[in-house]
């Protein structure tokens, strides 16, 4: 039986709140007005953090050439970091005409012989999916030849966008890895972290706190993840989804299959980090654990508050406009509020209904939810007297025109703003932005200009 997931089923995933609305974000991309990566991109983002697995893209260089070694997902894996190693079959005309299956098999052999991975993920791409190379067979035979799981990931870009790809990745792991191994021991506080990619080390901002409480991270999907651990994920007592709605289908299926309940968490900012750690303890339903968690959260907040004192004055009375996508529209807002910055507007351009509701809840009645931030933000800045614009690089010009401070939200791709300590990093970066004269200065008129 083919392991190709039923795309239609994944698209109308019941746990995906916006899918009932046919005009919602799940719809087909619009020709000429589409940004964002394809399903393959999404699948890679979801799986690449497994540094002990090889990630073989069966396709041409468009699919991988500019894209490997671009994601900062650090690992504590002691072997070679395969997250930062690019593998591609780099198909040529011959492979398109006569099929690339032989090449694919040889590529799998090469990888296993040279890099000894714990697993090989094999990704189909538009061309090889269209020409019909049999990924399932190649993976099955690879698994049999080498005794190492070779997992087909059917996420060619033409099936949809990143979100769908990450769902497909979840399906693949669910089907081929989870439940294929028993853990050496079990504890009553075993959890899986689903959708935590350890981008810029965010997981490491709070994992030690969970461990201090005796909560064991049995596996992660997939930040600092291990193949041997995800194979045991079916024995967890709780699934914790970290800021990734697209993986709800995965946790829902794990609930059906293995009876594992799930909760959704965010570790951005102090308030959300505290709430999330508490929510985990409450879901694990142990009075002593909950009590200890309360104490830990209080301790961490007090520690952080003290370190934030020098920033309080700088941020007091400051207003920010936030222009970023998805869950960041409220999670970063929450972090800003923790710092005492008023978030007067946020973008909900690509947000789901759920994200919009959350944004409204976090920001309050008076805030502007921008549906067309590119054209709206300049006006919003004028009307609100905002001091700071947090957005992607494209919006830099708006900030310069308005002569207000700018912070590239995509900085978080290089630096971790997560957890308690990440908030300090964010505070420092925002302080530096607010105090930097460049935004006032750079667009000044030259003395000879009128």
């Amino acid at each position: 039986m083919s392991s190709k997931p039923k795309i239609k089923e994944l698209l109308v995933e019941s746990a995906c709140e916006h899918s009932t609305d046919k005009k919602g974000s799940c719809n087909a991309p619009k020709p000429g007005a589409t940004t964002g990566g394809c399903a393959l991109d999404g699948a890679q983002i979801a799986l690449f953090p497994f540094a002990d697995a090889a990630h073989l893209v069966h396709g041409p260089m468009s699919c991988v050439g500019g894209a490997w070694e671009t994601r900062l997902t650090p690992t504590s894996w002691s072997g070679r970091d395969l997250t930062q190693t690019g593998f591609a079959t780099d198909i040529n005309t011959n492979d398109v005409v006569f099929g690339g299956e032989k090449k694919l098999a040889a590529a799998i052999d090469h990888i296993i012989a040279q890099y000894a991975p714990e697993a090989v993920f094999v990704y189909s791409t538009c061309v090889t999916a269209l020409t019909g190379d049999d990924l399932d067979a190649a993976c099955k035979q690879g698994t049999e030849r080498h005794g190492i799981p070779c997992v087909p990931v059917h996420a060619p870009g033409f099936v949809g966008a990143k979100n769908l790809g990450s769902r497909i990745a979840g399906e693949a792991v669910l089907r081929h890895l989870i439940g294929t191994k028993e853990p050496e021991e079990s504890t009553p506080f075993d959890i899986n972290l689903i959708g935590e990619h350890n981008n810029t080390g965010e997981l490491w901002r709070y994992r030690h706190l969970l461990e201090e409480l005796g909560i064991r991270v049995l596996s992660t999907f997939s930040g600092d993840g291990r193949i041997s651990e995800i194979r045991t994920a079916h024995r967890a007592k709780l699934n914790v989804i970290v800021c990734a709605k697209s993986l709800v289908s995965m946790t829902r299926k794990m609930q059906e299959r293995y009876g594992i309940p799930w909760i959704s968490c965010s570790f951005y900012g102090m308030t959300d980090t505290s709430n999330s750690i508490l929510a985990i303890a409450e879901a694990l339903d142990d009075a002593d654990l909950i009590e200890r968690t309360r104490r830990l959260v209080a301790r961490e907040e007090a520690r952080l508050e003290e370190k934030l004192i020098p920033y309080r004055e700088i941020f007091s009375g400051k207003k920010a406009v936030l222009n970023t996508g998805g869950n960041k529209s409220w999670s970063i807002a929450s972090a800003l509020q923790d710092l005492g910055i008023e978030v007067v507007a946020t973008s909900v351009r690509k947000s789901t209904e759920e994200d919009k509701a959350k944004a409204r809840k976090y920001l309050g009645e008076n805030a502007v939810l921008m549906t067309e931030p590119a054209s709206q933000q300049a006006k919003v800045i004028d009307e609100t007297g905002a001091h700071l614009l947090l957005a992607g690089g494209r919006s830099l010009y708006t900030a310069i025109k308005k002569r207000i401070a700018f912070t590239d939200v995509n900085q978080e791709k290089k630096k971790s703003y997560g957890g308690y300590d990440g908030l300090l990093v964010l505070a420092e970066d925002l302080k530096n932005s607010l105090q930097n004269p460049v935004f006032e200065l750079v667009d000044r008129k030259a003395p000879w200009q009128k």
């Binding site: 260089m61 468009s62 050439g65 269209l130 020409t131 870009g157 033409f158 966008a161 830099l396």
Partner: protein, 455 residues
């Protein structure tokens, strides 16, 4: 000259530095003023490409996709999604040109994109750039040829002062500008095709760019065929000369494999002297030649004792190797992205078409690496030093203004490389001395131990 291995013999690329044909096409269209490059394929290829160039140039990149899906892929012969895209694009912006370039998906399903141009009233140039063929260089060149082929009007006049300049894809914007200025200094008017020197040159624009903001204009492209000369720089773009000559056979074509280093620049300058009929160099050119000569002497000691690995597109390899070779640099290994006729002429001991795994396996052959940002991690693993050149470079800012060509750029290049090589050796010396020091401390601790009691 070099020993050349044109085929990798492996079933895959590990740590690839090769980039795809559509990526080269996108970049070429970005060198046309007020152009919207439109990649015909599923949405991911355009997204990866956009992210790559955005990060390399630190600039917003104009690029759209026809966003082919599994549904449209089956039903559509290409027209629908392209026409839909153009309609949508024009609702928001008014491009002077739409640059349709295909990908493997749409080439495999056999879309016929030539018909599209007739169905709309905005200028469209289309080019087939399947990504299972060629690479960055060929995508760039095919697009340059398509621009001329589809836009340039036939002509039977010649403007004796007009020169068309065709750079290869690895030339950064400032390099194109420097070459243009040199040619202008000899009294010519220059049109570069494509021209990134005014579009992706890290200038602060008036507003956020939803179209390319600078580059050769469509009008200039239409009126290209009265040029007296076309100068192609880099083996990959040599064919563009013939393309333009089909529009006007009277155009004279002059080709240079590169314009780097003393000999390479001398060749261009000598030719400019000849065709301009002048008998003296512009003073600044003469001055820079002397500075380069001095730079060669200043840098030869460091570079002359260094063995280099070069990792780049073929034309870029040829240019860098020539420059290093002139001051005794030992280019022991050059790894090319794709095959090219220029490989045999590269001044290196060994030239291979391959990936960074190949380079890693041959690490005994070199001390220092010059290549794209992926070579940084390679250097780190090997305990060597890397200097960043080529696409993409995510590690550093200011890439668009890195100038390695002509006398001036050659001097900068040699200084940078010589300094990096010197620093590398200094660090080695420090490490060795530190080891000796620690060893001596350990030894002296042994010596000062109380003598064992023999009593």
């Amino acid at each position: 000259m070099a020993e050349v291995r044109r085929k990798s013999g492996k079933p895959l690329q590990v740590n690839p530095h090769k980039l795809s044909q559509p990526m080269g096409a996108t970049l070429a269209f970005l060198g046309v003023d007020r152009c919207m490059p439109l990649m015909h394929g599923a949405q991911g290829c355009a997204s990866f490409t956009k992210v790559m160039f955005t990060r390399h140039f630190c600039e917003p990149i104009a690029l759209q996709t026809t966003a082919v899906t599994d549904v449209t892929a089956v039903l559509d012969g290409g027209d629908y999604s392209i026409l839909e895209s153009i309609k949508t694009i024009r609702e928001k912006v008014t491009p002077e040109l739409i640059g349709v370039h295909t990908t493997g998906l749409t080439e495999t399903k056999g879309d016929d994109i030539r018909g599209v141009a007739g169905k709309i009233d905005v200028p469209v140039v289309y080019v087939g750039t399947a990504d299972f063929k060629g690479g960055l260089e060929s995508g760039w060149t095919l697009t340059g040829q398509a621009l001329i082929d589809q836009l340039t009007a036939r002509c039977d006049r010649i403007d004796a002062q007009k020169m068309v300049l065709v750079p290869h894809v690895s030339m950064q914007p400032i390099e194109v500008e420097k070459i243009r200025e040199l040619i202008e200094a000899f009294g010519f008017k220059v049109v570069a095709v494509p021209d990134l020197s005014s579009s992706l040159d890290n200038h602060l624009g008036e507003k956020q760019a939803s179209l390319s903001s600078g580059g050769v204009t469509v009008t200039e492209l239409e009126q290209l065929a009265d040029a007296a000369f076309i100068v192609t720089l880099g083996a990959s773009v040599k064919g563009v000369g013939a393309t333009l000559q089909t529009k006007n056979p009277a155009i004279r074509h002059r080709h240079f494999n590169h314009v780097s280093g003393l000999i390479g620049t001398d060749a261009l300058v000598a030719w400019l002297l000849e065709v301009s009929g002048r008998d003296a160099l512009p003073a600044a050119v003469e001055r820079w030649r002397k500075r380069l000569q001095d730079a060669m002497l200043d840098s030869h000691f460091s570079i002359g004792q260094t063995r280099f690995l070069l990792v780049a597109e073929p034309d870029h390899l040829a240019a860098m190797a020539a420059c290093l070779r002139e001051v005794g640099g030992k280019v022991t290994l050059a790894v090319a992205t794709v095959d090219s006729p220029i490989l045999a002429d590269i001044e290196a001991d060994q030239v291979i078409v391959g990936d960074l795994e190949d380079a890693e396996n041959m690490s005994d052959a070199y001390d220092m690496i010059i290549g794209n940002f992926h070579t940084e991690a390679l250097a780190h693993r090997l305990g060597k030093t890397a200097v960043m050149r080529g696409f993409p470079n995510y590690e550093e800012i200011g890439n668009a203004l890195k100038n390695d060509v002509l006398y001036e750029g050659g001097a900068y290049f040699l200084f940078e490389i010589a300094n990096a090589a010197e620093r590398m050796r200094q660090e080695q010396v420090h490490r060795e001395r530190e080891q000796i020091r620690l060893q001596r401390i350990a030894d002296s601790n042994l010596d000062s131990r109380p003598l064992p009691n023999h009593a």
